[in-house]
């Protein structure tokens, strides 16, 4: 399997009046062709900023300060704007969380889909329109011609998110970054959307980074999972490995707070304490103050270690695993 995306040592910081927010602070991962990777973490952990760093949409006061992003072997971290623009929506697409907010309210659906094609290819409007119509059909939208003429407010939330997904696939990208695309939708619609997205990645061989804070969603969708905490990936590995046998105390906590079938009867586990203040992270391991497996060693920054085919940032992975049992 060849790598579509290789991110290494990525640091994206925001230089605010109150201080430097290290939203992404040393992130490494690789996504292979056709692979779906789940990126999980609580709110504010830097998932979206990781995604925006990849497509080069970090605005002042933020900036990629370090690291490399290789897309199909080409370095695109801090690449020229023209280059990034030609990749965006073309080779790398993005789907946003809130379908109410992402489609422009005063432009018709056809305008917003056709422009995504015409921005990257010189085809006739008619061709672009036909492709848009077919794309809507692919994501399960009935009577797509009619929907194309509609304004966003005339569609339901689920319908709008399907439009966004269809738009993301329009130019057959190599990678799609889906930033919590189903969070704003109710559960049945959520399941349908996930199903459509999964089907399409299989058909087209598109790789996907699925950002969410809902472990249950990635469990059924992704092949690999990266768990983020305070700007760093703390655990990364095959989905079954991590879900069945989490090694990082934070992952353990996350899993503990999801009641799943095979965990029935066990005590529901809560992560204690507050989400960290990104302006004033604790010394050493950022998870320290909330960690039940903490030892004296944790006053230092835990390095990335490879254990059993997954990578981990923790001094005491075993203790964490013990605690669950």
């Amino acid at each position: 399997m060849s790598a579509v995306l290789e991110v290494s040592g990525l640091k994206t910081h925001f230089f605010t009046h109150a201080g430097v927010v290290k939203a992404v602070d040393g992130v490494d991962f690789t996504v292979s062709k056709g692979e779906i990777m789940g990126l999980v973490g609580e709110s504010g952990s830097g998932k979206s900023i990781t995604g925006f760093s990849i497509i080069g949409l970090i605005d002042a006061p933020g900036r990629i300060v370090e690291g490399s992003i290789k897309f199909n072997g080409e370095e695109i971290a801090n690449a020229k704007e023209e280059r990034l623009q030609s990749l965006r929506g073309n080779r790398i697409s993005m789907i946003f969380q809130d379908p109410m907010m992402t489609l422009n309210p005063v432009l018709r659906v056809d305008t917003q889909m056709i422009e995504a094609i015409l921005a990257h290819e010189s085809v006739s409007k008619q061709t672009a329109w036909e492709r848009s119509r077919d794309a809507l059909g692919l994501v399960g939208i009935p009577s797509p011609e009619e929907r194309l003429r509609a304004y966003p407010h005339q569609l339901s939330g689920g319908m709008r998110q399907r439009v966004a997904i269809a738009t993301a696939f329009l130019n057959r990208p190599d990678l799609i970054i889906a930033d919590e695309p189903t969070t704003a939708l109710d559960v049945t619609i959520q399941a349908q959307i996930i199903h459509e997205a999964q089907k399409l990645t299989r058909q087209t061989g598109t790789a996907m980074i699925w950002i969410t804070h809902d472990l249950a969603v990635v469990a059924g969708l992704a092949e690999r999972i990266s768990v983020m905490y305070a700007g760093r990936i703390v655990e990364q590995g095959g989905i079954d490995d991590v879900i069945d046998r989490p090694l990082h105390p934070y992952t353990v906590g996350l899993l503990g707070s999801v009641p799943t079938a095979n965990r029935r009867g066990k005590r529901l586990f809560q992560i204690e304490g507050m989400t960290p203040n990104m302006l004033d992270l604790p010394k050493g391991c950022a998870f320290g103050p909330r960690c039940h497996a903490r030892t004296d060693a944790c006053g230092l920054q835990p390095p990335i270690e490879d254990i059993d085919g997954r990578s981990l940032r923790c001094f005491n992975p075993q203790r964490a695993a013990e605690a669950v049992k």
Binding site: Q85, R88, T102, H153
Partner: protein, 325 residues
Amino acid sequence: MTVFIIRRLLQALLVVFMMSVIVFFGVNIVGDPVYMLVSPDADQADIEAAISRLGLDRPIWEQYGLFLKGAAQGDLGNSFIFGEPALKLILHHMPATMELAFSALFLAIVIGIPLGLYAGLYPDSRLSKGIMAASIFGFSLPTFWVGLMLIMLFAVELQWVPATGRGDLGSFLGIQSSIFTLDGLSHIFLPALNLALLKISLAIRLTRAGVREAMGLDYVKYARAKGLSTRRIIFVHVMKNIMIPVVTVMGLEFGSLIGFSVVTETIFAWPGMGKLLIDAILQLDRPVVVAYLMIIVLFFVLINLIVDILYSILDPRVRLQDQGA
């Protein structure tokens, strides 16, 4: 749409009717109606003749009925000074005022919107700060004083353009206006600029606020994620949204342009209906004052109606509601 317009027309009619009541009873209660409607140098016999001719000896409801009947037939009384129907006088002076107001609106739009756009896109640049400071002055400076300064600078000191009067008329597409001749343009430039100043400031502030708000919204970020050019994002996605409030407010302000033209026309000796009004007030030519008032009310009501229709055309969300209604 038709239902909407008909409903609004009926509302407008109601407002005009209400205002006619206020104007009529205002004139009759605030001032002595004889004094208001008869030339001040009339003698006793004249006054008595006028009283019976005008029906002032009849009950006030009957008088109002007569007034309304006359008004409906376009008869708002004769000017004391010119001996002509007041309405005809006002209509005769209207084109000059309209061309001034339209020129001012045009200036406000072509100067205000680009400056506001710039200030909104680059809020921290020095030029933007200068633009905003200037717009505060545009708001606070009394129009008539700015007019004086304009005359002093451009007409007296630099002698670039004439200080007063309306220039030669030209004809284009059957419309007669001074803006179709060079001489006319040189005459209209200063008064139009003077009248526009306040609205330029308004357009700057509206546009800037709209751009700044829109640039932070998800749909702009999504448009960027699709790889659209900056130009398309600004001029299609952002502009189409902010044009809704800008057009609405600027449209409503057209009425106040006509109101304010009273000041500008006096300073620049512009032969419009504002100048006519001031002369009428100074010469106690009350029928002209009353007629002006009725015309202006009609105007405001009409402008409100047109802006409402425009608004529903521009904003697709409003259109839907209307279809439902």
